[in-house]
Symmetry: C2
Subunit: 167 residues, 2 copies
DNA sequence: TATTGTTATACTCTATAACTATA
DNA sequence: TATAGTTATAGAGTATAACAATA
């Protein structure tokens, strides 16, 4: 906070990387992940695991391929991530009867219960991290990010309406 | 692209992680970093090195502490990053006469020349990545991200006016 | 005593290739 | 032959602690 940033000179133009929205995005992405990590560690979950559980709860059971696409995570990495979640009883893997190569992954009851706790913590992180924006601005940001995600085919749905209460 | 995402069922509510702006931000941050990496590899730079060079060019010489704060990177990691850049003759390290503990880091002529190439490539990545947004929306996104960065003290200046031409 | 930079290290994340079982 | 999942592994990013030089 008050780290007395002395040796930061002239700063004439005042922009720096800020010119590149992409670099700014990358930096903030890492920052928010760090925040998530410190908030989730006491609960025993990693940010990526949390994303997976949230997706499974909200989207329902799906194949590992589909989940990997939704999270933008490599299939091989998803395997070990799911191994851990399965070991903790937070998800279930079962063969898809229609195509026995596939695993249908779904969140367990225990997972659903845990994700309620987690969502509370995550929401708090979001509130802290985006505290510089008011409610409207934050909604705008979310919408813009969602559209970028959509256009880059990172598989993100529009931020339309939430319907059900879950927690 | 056309990967025929079969096993993606119901999708009733349609939101998923999208609820959490933070998770969305984290995911996009990784995605854009990946894009940067593939575009920068042929030039021989990593995304983080590129950020460092851009910052040094735009903000001028500064201590490693200040640079670390600007990039939101740990001091110990910055050392090895700068070692590589120094080895390639892209930056210079010299002792601060006023405080001999400090290294003043500045971009070299060779670094400045390279960064012009790089900026071209980076700008292209930005254009591709944010293609889903029009010019105004992209400016809005940049502004919102910059303000979040500011409020989280990740050290980012306001996106005011660029003044000088550099490339 | 505190700070700047450094080194070493351990841990996580990411990407690639090779394998299996199913189709 | 192609696809879903798995395994192993190498590479990159990150965080921590201990240290030397300087303040």
């Amino acid at each position: 906070m008050s780290t007395d940033v002395t040796t930061k000179p002239a700063s004439r133009s005042g922009d720096g990387l800020a010119q590149h929205t992409g670099f700014l995005l990358a930096r903030l992405g890492r920052a928010v992940t760090r925040h998530y990590r410190s908030a989730l560690t006491p609960i025993g979950l990693k940010p990526r695991q949390t994303s997976a559980l949230l997706t499974l709860r909200d989207e329902g059971a799906m194949s590992q391929q589909a989940l990997g696409a939704a999270l933008d995570i490599d299939a091989s990495n998803l395997v070990v991530l799911l191994n851990d979640l399965e070991g903790g009883g937070l998800i279930l893997r079962r063969r898809d009867p229609e195509d026995r190569r596939r695993h249908l992954v779904e969140i367990s009851k225990r997972g659903s219960k845990l994700i309620c706790e987690v969502e509370h913590a995550s929401t708090q992180i979001d509130d802290e991290f985006f505290a510089g924006l008011d409610s409207d601005e934050r909604a705008t940001l979310h919408d813009l990010l969602a559209r970028v995600a959509q256009s880059t085919d990172v598989s993100a749905r529009g931020a339309s309406g939430d319907d059900e209460e879950r927690c």
